[in-house]
Amino acid sequence: MANTASLIICEHCDSVYHKVELAKHQKALCQRCGAVLQRYNGLNIQQRLALSVTAAVFWIFANFYPVMSISLKGLHNSATLWDSVLALSTGPITFIAGVAAISIIIAPLFQLVLLIWVLCFALASKRSPAFKTCMRWLETLRPWSMLEVCLLGAMVAVFKLAGLLDVLPGIGLIALAILSLLIIRIAGRDIRDLWDTLP
Protein backbone atom coordinates (compact mmCIF):
# COMPACT_ATOMS: atom_id res chain seq x y z
CA MET A 1 0.00 0.00 0.00
CA ALA A 2 1.35 3.39 -0.95
CA ASN A 3 2.28 5.77 1.81
CA THR A 4 -0.42 8.37 2.07
CA ALA A 5 0.70 9.92 5.35
CA SER A 6 2.35 12.86 3.60
CA LEU A 7 -0.79 13.71 1.65
CA ILE A 8 -3.53 16.07 2.61
CA ILE A 9 -6.98 16.14 1.04
CA CYS A 10 -9.15 19.23 0.96
CA GLU A 11 -12.38 18.34 2.70
CA HIS A 12 -14.33 20.87 0.68
CA CYS A 13 -13.37 19.90 -2.85
CA ASP A 14 -11.34 16.67 -2.72
CA SER A 15 -8.08 18.15 -4.08
CA VAL A 16 -4.90 16.34 -3.06
CA TYR A 17 -1.73 18.08 -1.87
CA HIS A 18 1.52 17.25 -0.13
CA LYS A 19 1.74 18.45 3.45
CA VAL A 20 4.03 21.41 3.99
CA GLU A 21 5.90 22.78 6.96
CA LEU A 22 4.36 26.04 8.05
CA ALA A 23 6.04 28.91 9.82
CA LYS A 24 4.38 31.12 12.38
CA HIS A 25 1.15 32.83 11.26
CA GLN A 26 1.16 30.88 8.00
CA LYS A 27 -1.67 28.79 6.68
CA ALA A 28 -2.06 26.66 3.59
CA LEU A 29 -5.06 27.32 1.35
CA CYS A 30 -6.61 25.05 -1.24
CA GLN A 31 -5.91 26.32 -4.76
CA ARG A 32 -9.22 25.18 -6.10
CA CYS A 33 -11.77 26.19 -3.47
CA GLY A 34 -9.81 28.43 -1.11
CA ALA A 35 -10.47 26.41 2.05
CA VAL A 36 -7.84 26.26 4.77
CA LEU A 37 -5.84 23.04 4.50
CA GLN A 38 -3.34 23.50 7.28
CA ARG A 39 -2.79 26.10 9.94
CA TYR A 40 0.35 26.69 11.94
CA ASN A 41 0.03 24.89 15.24
CA GLY A 42 1.75 27.01 17.83
CA LEU A 43 1.17 24.77 20.83
CA ASN A 44 3.29 21.84 21.90
CA ILE A 45 1.88 19.09 24.06
CA GLN A 46 2.98 20.56 27.40
CA GLN A 47 1.52 23.96 26.58
CA ARG A 48 -1.75 22.49 25.40
CA LEU A 49 -2.02 20.32 28.51
CA ALA A 50 -1.29 23.28 30.75
CA LEU A 51 -4.00 25.32 29.02
CA SER A 52 -6.43 22.40 29.28
CA VAL A 53 -5.91 22.14 33.03
CA THR A 54 -6.34 25.91 33.32
CA ALA A 55 -9.55 25.66 31.31
CA ALA A 56 -10.80 22.89 33.59
CA VAL A 57 -10.30 25.16 36.60
CA PHE A 58 -12.21 27.92 34.85
CA TRP A 59 -14.94 25.44 33.92
CA ILE A 60 -15.42 24.83 37.65
CA PHE A 61 -15.55 28.56 38.37
CA ALA A 62 -17.94 29.17 35.49
CA ASN A 63 -20.29 26.47 36.70
CA PHE A 64 -20.25 26.91 40.45
CA TYR A 65 -20.25 30.69 40.69
CA PRO A 66 -23.21 32.76 39.56
CA VAL A 67 -22.91 34.22 36.07
CA MET A 68 -24.77 37.26 37.29
CA SER A 69 -27.01 38.47 40.03
CA ILE A 70 -29.86 40.97 40.14
CA SER A 71 -31.63 42.95 42.78
CA LEU A 72 -35.09 44.42 42.76
CA LYS A 73 -36.58 46.37 45.67
CA GLY A 74 -34.27 44.73 48.18
CA LEU A 75 -34.72 41.24 46.80
CA HIS A 76 -31.66 39.47 45.41
CA ASN A 77 -31.27 36.57 43.07
CA SER A 78 -28.39 35.03 41.17
CA ALA A 79 -28.12 32.36 38.49
CA THR A 80 -25.47 29.87 37.51
CA LEU A 81 -25.28 28.15 34.13
CA TRP A 82 -27.08 25.16 35.59
CA ASP A 83 -29.89 27.38 36.92
CA SER A 84 -30.48 28.69 33.43
CA VAL A 85 -30.68 25.17 32.05
CA LEU A 86 -33.20 24.35 34.77
CA ALA A 87 -35.21 27.46 33.93
CA LEU A 88 -35.78 25.99 30.46
CA SER A 89 -36.69 22.55 31.72
CA THR A 90 -40.22 23.36 32.82
CA GLY A 91 -43.26 22.23 30.91
CA PRO A 92 -43.30 21.10 27.29
CA ILE A 93 -40.01 22.73 26.35
CA THR A 94 -37.74 20.37 28.31
CA PHE A 95 -36.04 19.19 25.11
CA ILE A 96 -34.43 22.57 24.59
CA ALA A 97 -33.04 22.44 28.13
CA GLY A 98 -31.17 19.32 27.05
CA VAL A 99 -29.74 21.11 24.02
CA ALA A 100 -28.70 24.06 26.19
CA ALA A 101 -27.14 21.77 28.80
CA ILE A 102 -25.09 19.99 26.14
CA SER A 103 -23.94 23.15 24.43
CA ILE A 104 -22.87 25.18 27.44
CA ILE A 105 -22.02 22.63 30.15
CA ILE A 106 -21.64 19.03 29.00
CA ALA A 107 -19.85 19.39 25.65
CA PRO A 108 -17.14 21.73 27.01
CA LEU A 109 -16.67 19.46 30.04
CA PHE A 110 -16.23 16.37 27.90
CA GLN A 111 -13.88 18.21 25.57
CA LEU A 112 -11.69 19.16 28.52
CA VAL A 113 -11.76 15.70 30.12
CA LEU A 114 -10.87 14.02 26.82
CA LEU A 115 -8.13 16.55 26.09
CA ILE A 116 -6.51 16.16 29.50
CA TRP A 117 -6.73 12.37 29.27
CA VAL A 118 -5.23 12.20 25.80
CA LEU A 119 -2.57 14.83 26.46
CA CYS A 120 -1.37 13.30 29.75
CA PHE A 121 -0.45 10.15 27.87
CA ALA A 122 0.89 12.14 24.93
CA LEU A 123 3.30 13.80 27.33
CA ALA A 124 4.93 10.39 27.77
CA SER A 125 4.76 9.91 23.97
CA LYS A 126 2.11 7.24 24.38
CA ARG A 127 -1.33 6.83 22.97
CA SER A 128 -3.86 6.79 25.78
CA PRO A 129 -6.22 3.84 26.18
CA ALA A 130 -9.17 4.31 23.82
CA PHE A 131 -7.15 6.96 21.96
CA LYS A 132 -9.11 6.50 18.74
CA THR A 133 -12.47 6.83 20.47
CA CYS A 134 -11.35 9.92 22.40
CA MET A 135 -10.05 11.64 19.29
CA ARG A 136 -13.25 10.89 17.36
CA TRP A 137 -15.37 12.25 20.19
CA LEU A 138 -13.32 15.44 20.25
CA GLU A 139 -14.25 15.90 16.58
CA THR A 140 -17.91 15.14 17.21
CA LEU A 141 -18.23 17.48 20.19
CA ARG A 142 -16.63 20.52 18.60
CA PRO A 143 -19.63 21.96 16.72
CA TRP A 144 -21.93 21.49 19.73
CA SER A 145 -19.79 23.36 22.20
CA MET A 146 -21.17 26.89 22.21
CA LEU A 147 -19.57 28.72 25.10
CA GLU A 148 -18.78 31.82 23.07
CA VAL A 149 -22.45 32.09 22.12
CA CYS A 150 -23.34 31.74 25.80
CA LEU A 151 -20.91 34.54 26.61
CA LEU A 152 -22.57 36.89 24.14
CA GLY A 153 -25.95 35.71 25.44
CA ALA A 154 -24.97 36.63 28.99
CA MET A 155 -23.95 40.12 27.85
CA VAL A 156 -27.24 40.59 25.99
CA ALA A 157 -29.07 39.42 29.12
CA VAL A 158 -27.25 42.06 31.16
CA PHE A 159 -28.50 44.78 28.82
CA LYS A 160 -31.96 43.29 28.63
CA LEU A 161 -32.40 43.43 32.39
CA ALA A 162 -30.42 46.59 33.08
CA GLY A 163 -33.43 48.75 32.26
CA LEU A 164 -35.71 46.95 34.70
CA LEU A 165 -33.50 46.25 37.70
CA ASP A 166 -29.94 46.28 38.99
CA VAL A 167 -27.66 43.74 37.35
CA LEU A 168 -24.26 42.65 38.62
CA PRO A 169 -22.01 40.43 36.51
CA GLY A 170 -20.55 37.64 38.67
CA ILE A 171 -17.34 35.65 38.87
CA GLY A 172 -18.98 33.04 36.66
CA LEU A 173 -19.19 35.49 33.78
CA ILE A 174 -15.47 36.31 33.86
CA ALA A 175 -14.63 32.61 34.10
CA LEU A 176 -16.99 31.94 31.20
CA ALA A 177 -15.22 34.54 29.07
CA ILE A 178 -11.77 33.06 29.75
CA LEU A 179 -13.02 29.50 29.36
CA SER A 180 -14.59 30.17 25.98
CA LEU A 181 -11.37 31.73 24.66
CA LEU A 182 -9.29 28.84 25.99
CA ILE A 183 -11.54 26.22 24.41
CA ILE A 184 -11.29 27.91 21.02
CA ARG A 185 -7.51 27.79 21.34
CA ILE A 186 -7.01 24.24 22.63
CA ALA A 187 -9.86 22.17 21.21
CA GLY A 188 -9.54 23.29 17.59
CA ARG A 189 -8.78 21.20 14.57
CA ASP A 190 -5.05 21.19 15.18
CA ILE A 191 -5.38 18.44 17.82
CA ARG A 192 -5.39 16.16 14.78
CA ASP A 193 -1.63 16.60 14.74
CA LEU A 194 -1.54 14.11 17.60
CA TRP A 195 -2.24 11.36 15.10
CA ASP A 196 1.12 12.09 13.49
CA THR A 197 3.15 12.81 16.60
CA LEU A 198 2.01 9.66 18.41
CA PRO A 199 2.83 6.68 16.24
Binding site: H12, C13, G34, L72, A87, P92, V99, A100, L152, A157
Partner: protein, 208 residues
Protein backbone atom coordinates in the same frame (compact mmCIF):
# COMPACT_ATOMS: atom_id res chain seq x y z
CA UNK B 1 -2.42 27.46 -13.08
CA UNK B 2 -2.95 23.74 -13.41
CA UNK B 3 -5.83 22.18 -11.52
CA UNK B 4 -4.78 20.16 -8.47
CA UNK B 5 -5.26 16.40 -8.64
CA UNK B 6 -8.45 15.11 -7.16
CA UNK B 7 -8.52 12.39 -4.52
CA UNK B 8 -11.08 10.39 -6.49
CA UNK B 9 -8.65 10.05 -9.41
CA UNK B 10 -5.98 8.65 -7.09
CA UNK B 11 -8.41 6.26 -5.41
CA UNK B 12 -8.03 8.14 -2.15
CA UNK B 13 -10.71 9.26 0.25
CA UNK B 14 -10.54 11.66 3.15
CA UNK B 15 -11.37 10.38 6.63
CA UNK B 16 -13.67 12.98 8.15
CA UNK B 17 -12.75 12.10 11.70
CA UNK B 18 -8.96 12.28 11.61
CA UNK B 19 -8.10 13.86 8.28
CA UNK B 20 -6.10 10.96 6.93
CA UNK B 21 -5.88 10.29 3.22
CA UNK B 22 -7.12 6.70 3.04
CA UNK B 23 -6.25 4.36 0.21
CA UNK B 24 -9.41 2.90 -1.25
CA UNK B 25 -7.77 -0.08 -2.92
CA UNK B 26 -8.74 -3.21 -1.03
CA UNK B 27 -12.04 -1.45 -0.31
CA UNK B 28 -11.64 -0.73 3.39
CA UNK B 29 -14.89 0.32 5.06
CA UNK B 30 -13.18 2.03 7.97
CA UNK B 31 -10.26 4.41 8.34
CA UNK B 32 -7.02 2.49 8.96
CA UNK B 33 -5.93 5.07 11.47
CA UNK B 34 -8.97 5.98 13.58
CA UNK B 35 -11.57 3.31 12.70
CA UNK B 36 -14.19 5.87 11.69
CA UNK B 37 -16.43 4.71 8.84
CA UNK B 38 -15.18 5.86 5.45
CA UNK B 39 -17.44 7.07 2.73
CA UNK B 40 -16.85 8.34 -0.70
CA UNK B 41 -19.39 11.12 -0.19
CA UNK B 42 -21.46 11.78 2.90
CA UNK B 43 -24.25 9.18 2.63
CA UNK B 44 -27.50 10.46 1.11
CA UNK B 45 -26.16 13.95 1.47
CA UNK B 46 -28.77 15.72 -0.66
CA UNK B 47 -31.81 13.90 0.71
CA UNK B 48 -30.72 14.38 4.30
CA UNK B 49 -29.90 18.03 3.86
CA UNK B 50 -33.27 18.67 2.23
CA UNK B 51 -35.05 16.81 5.02
CA UNK B 52 -33.35 18.75 7.80
CA UNK B 53 -33.77 22.02 5.93
CA UNK B 54 -37.48 21.53 5.37
CA UNK B 55 -37.97 20.45 8.98
CA UNK B 56 -36.17 23.61 10.09
CA UNK B 57 -38.34 25.75 7.78
CA UNK B 58 -41.50 24.24 9.24
CA UNK B 59 -40.35 25.02 12.79
CA UNK B 60 -39.27 28.51 11.75
CA UNK B 61 -42.91 29.60 11.48
CA UNK B 62 -44.02 28.86 15.08
CA UNK B 63 -40.59 29.96 16.29
CA UNK B 64 -41.33 33.47 15.08
CA UNK B 65 -45.07 33.60 15.73
CA UNK B 66 -45.28 32.07 19.20
CA UNK B 67 -44.07 34.01 22.24
CA UNK B 68 -40.62 33.00 23.47
CA UNK B 69 -41.03 34.42 26.94
CA UNK B 70 -43.51 35.85 29.36
CA UNK B 71 -42.54 38.80 31.50
CA UNK B 72 -44.60 39.86 34.47
CA UNK B 73 -43.33 42.79 36.46
CA UNK B 74 -45.31 44.35 39.32
CA UNK B 75 -48.41 42.46 38.28
CA UNK B 76 -48.40 43.50 34.60
CA UNK B 77 -47.66 40.60 32.29
CA UNK B 78 -46.58 40.63 28.66
CA UNK B 79 -45.64 37.98 26.15
CA UNK B 80 -42.80 38.68 23.80
CA UNK B 81 -41.80 37.08 20.53
CA UNK B 82 -38.32 37.20 19.05
CA UNK B 83 -39.18 40.16 16.84
CA UNK B 84 -40.86 42.11 19.63
CA UNK B 85 -37.71 41.63 21.71
CA UNK B 86 -35.67 43.22 18.94
CA UNK B 87 -38.13 46.08 18.54
CA UNK B 88 -38.14 46.75 22.27
CA UNK B 89 -34.39 47.29 22.30
CA UNK B 90 -34.66 49.41 19.17
CA UNK B 91 -37.29 51.69 20.67
CA UNK B 92 -35.26 52.15 23.82
CA UNK B 93 -32.39 53.38 21.71
CA UNK B 94 -30.21 50.30 22.21
CA UNK B 95 -29.84 49.82 18.47
CA UNK B 96 -26.59 47.86 18.85
CA UNK B 97 -28.16 45.16 21.04
CA UNK B 98 -31.21 45.12 18.78
CA UNK B 99 -28.90 44.56 15.83
CA UNK B 100 -27.04 41.69 17.52
CA UNK B 101 -30.27 39.87 18.36
CA UNK B 102 -31.74 40.57 14.95
CA UNK B 103 -28.67 39.17 13.18
CA UNK B 104 -28.37 36.11 15.42
CA UNK B 105 -32.04 35.21 15.60
CA UNK B 106 -33.62 36.30 12.36
CA UNK B 107 -30.98 37.07 9.75
CA UNK B 108 -28.75 34.06 10.40
CA UNK B 109 -31.48 31.39 10.10
CA UNK B 110 -32.94 33.14 7.05
CA UNK B 111 -29.49 33.35 5.43
CA UNK B 112 -28.96 29.67 6.13
CA UNK B 113 -32.23 28.68 4.49
CA UNK B 114 -31.43 30.69 1.37
CA UNK B 115 -27.79 29.61 1.18
CA UNK B 116 -28.39 25.90 1.75
CA UNK B 117 -31.36 25.94 -0.64
CA UNK B 118 -29.23 27.58 -3.30
CA UNK B 119 -26.38 25.10 -2.76
CA UNK B 120 -28.74 22.11 -2.92
CA UNK B 121 -30.44 23.25 -6.11
CA UNK B 122 -27.23 24.16 -7.92
CA UNK B 123 -25.69 20.82 -6.96
CA UNK B 124 -28.76 18.95 -8.14
CA UNK B 125 -28.71 20.52 -11.58
CA UNK B 126 -24.93 19.89 -11.62
CA UNK B 127 -24.25 23.52 -12.31
CA UNK B 128 -20.66 24.67 -12.68
CA UNK B 129 -21.62 28.25 -11.94
CA UNK B 130 -19.46 30.19 -9.41
CA UNK B 131 -18.05 27.09 -7.76
CA UNK B 132 -15.48 28.90 -5.71
CA UNK B 133 -18.06 31.37 -4.41
CA UNK B 134 -20.46 28.57 -3.58
CA UNK B 135 -17.70 26.75 -1.68
CA UNK B 136 -17.09 29.94 0.26
CA UNK B 137 -20.83 30.32 0.89
CA UNK B 138 -20.93 26.84 2.42
CA UNK B 139 -18.04 27.59 4.75
CA UNK B 140 -19.82 30.79 5.77
CA UNK B 141 -22.99 28.84 6.59
CA UNK B 142 -20.96 26.41 8.70
CA UNK B 143 -19.31 29.29 10.53
CA UNK B 144 -22.41 31.29 11.43
CA UNK B 145 -24.56 28.23 12.21
CA UNK B 146 -24.56 28.02 15.96
CA UNK B 147 -24.77 31.73 16.76
CA UNK B 148 -28.53 31.48 16.48
CA UNK B 149 -28.52 29.67 19.82
CA UNK B 150 -28.02 33.14 21.28
CA UNK B 151 -31.68 33.84 21.93
CA UNK B 152 -32.26 30.47 23.59
CA UNK B 153 -29.43 31.15 26.02
CA UNK B 154 -30.55 34.72 26.68
CA UNK B 155 -34.06 33.54 27.54
CA UNK B 156 -32.62 30.79 29.76
CA UNK B 157 -30.43 33.20 31.71
CA UNK B 158 -33.09 35.87 32.06
CA UNK B 159 -35.70 33.33 33.16
CA UNK B 160 -33.31 31.86 35.72
CA UNK B 161 -32.59 35.29 37.16
CA UNK B 162 -35.96 36.97 37.41
CA UNK B 163 -37.79 34.76 39.90
CA UNK B 164 -39.49 37.02 42.42
CA UNK B 165 -42.93 35.42 42.40
CA UNK B 166 -45.54 38.19 42.50
CA UNK B 167 -43.10 41.07 42.17
CA UNK B 168 -41.52 39.94 38.95
CA UNK B 169 -41.24 36.72 37.04
CA UNK B 170 -39.96 35.74 33.61
CA UNK B 171 -40.85 32.37 32.13
CA UNK B 172 -39.82 30.74 28.87
CA UNK B 173 -42.61 29.96 26.43
CA UNK B 174 -43.17 27.37 23.72
CA UNK B 175 -41.69 29.53 20.95
CA UNK B 176 -38.20 29.03 22.31
CA UNK B 177 -38.51 25.26 21.85
CA UNK B 178 -39.33 25.70 18.16
CA UNK B 179 -36.59 28.25 17.84
CA UNK B 180 -34.04 25.86 19.32
CA UNK B 181 -35.24 23.14 16.96
CA UNK B 182 -34.66 25.49 14.00
CA UNK B 183 -31.07 26.00 15.14
CA UNK B 184 -30.41 22.29 15.71
CA UNK B 185 -31.98 21.27 12.40
CA UNK B 186 -30.14 23.90 10.35
CA UNK B 187 -26.89 22.81 11.99
CA UNK B 188 -27.63 19.19 11.11
CA UNK B 189 -28.54 20.27 7.57
CA UNK B 190 -25.22 22.07 7.14
CA UNK B 191 -23.34 19.06 8.53
CA UNK B 192 -25.00 16.58 6.22
CA UNK B 193 -24.34 18.62 3.10
CA UNK B 194 -21.20 17.46 1.32
CA UNK B 195 -19.36 20.45 -0.19
CA UNK B 196 -17.43 18.15 -2.51
CA UNK B 197 -20.64 17.76 -4.50
CA UNK B 198 -20.18 21.35 -5.65
CA UNK B 199 -17.09 20.28 -7.58
CA UNK B 200 -18.54 17.10 -8.99
CA UNK B 201 -18.50 16.86 -12.76
CA UNK B 202 -20.53 15.04 -15.35
CA UNK B 203 -18.06 12.18 -15.67
CA UNK B 204 -18.13 11.43 -11.94
CA UNK B 205 -21.57 9.92 -12.06
CA UNK B 206 -20.36 6.35 -12.31
CA UNK B 207 -17.87 6.50 -9.44
CA UNK B 208 -18.13 4.08 -6.47
Amino acid sequence: MSEPVRAADLNLVLCHACGMACDLRGQPSHCQRCDAPLHWRKPNSLARTWAYLIAALVFYVPANLLPVMNTSLFGAGSESTIMSGVLEFWEHGAWDIALIIFIASIAVPATKFCALGLLLITVQIRSDWARQQRARLYRFVELIGYWSMLDVLVVALVAALVKFKALGDIEPRLGILFFGMVVVFTMLAAMSFDPRLIWEQEDDAGHP
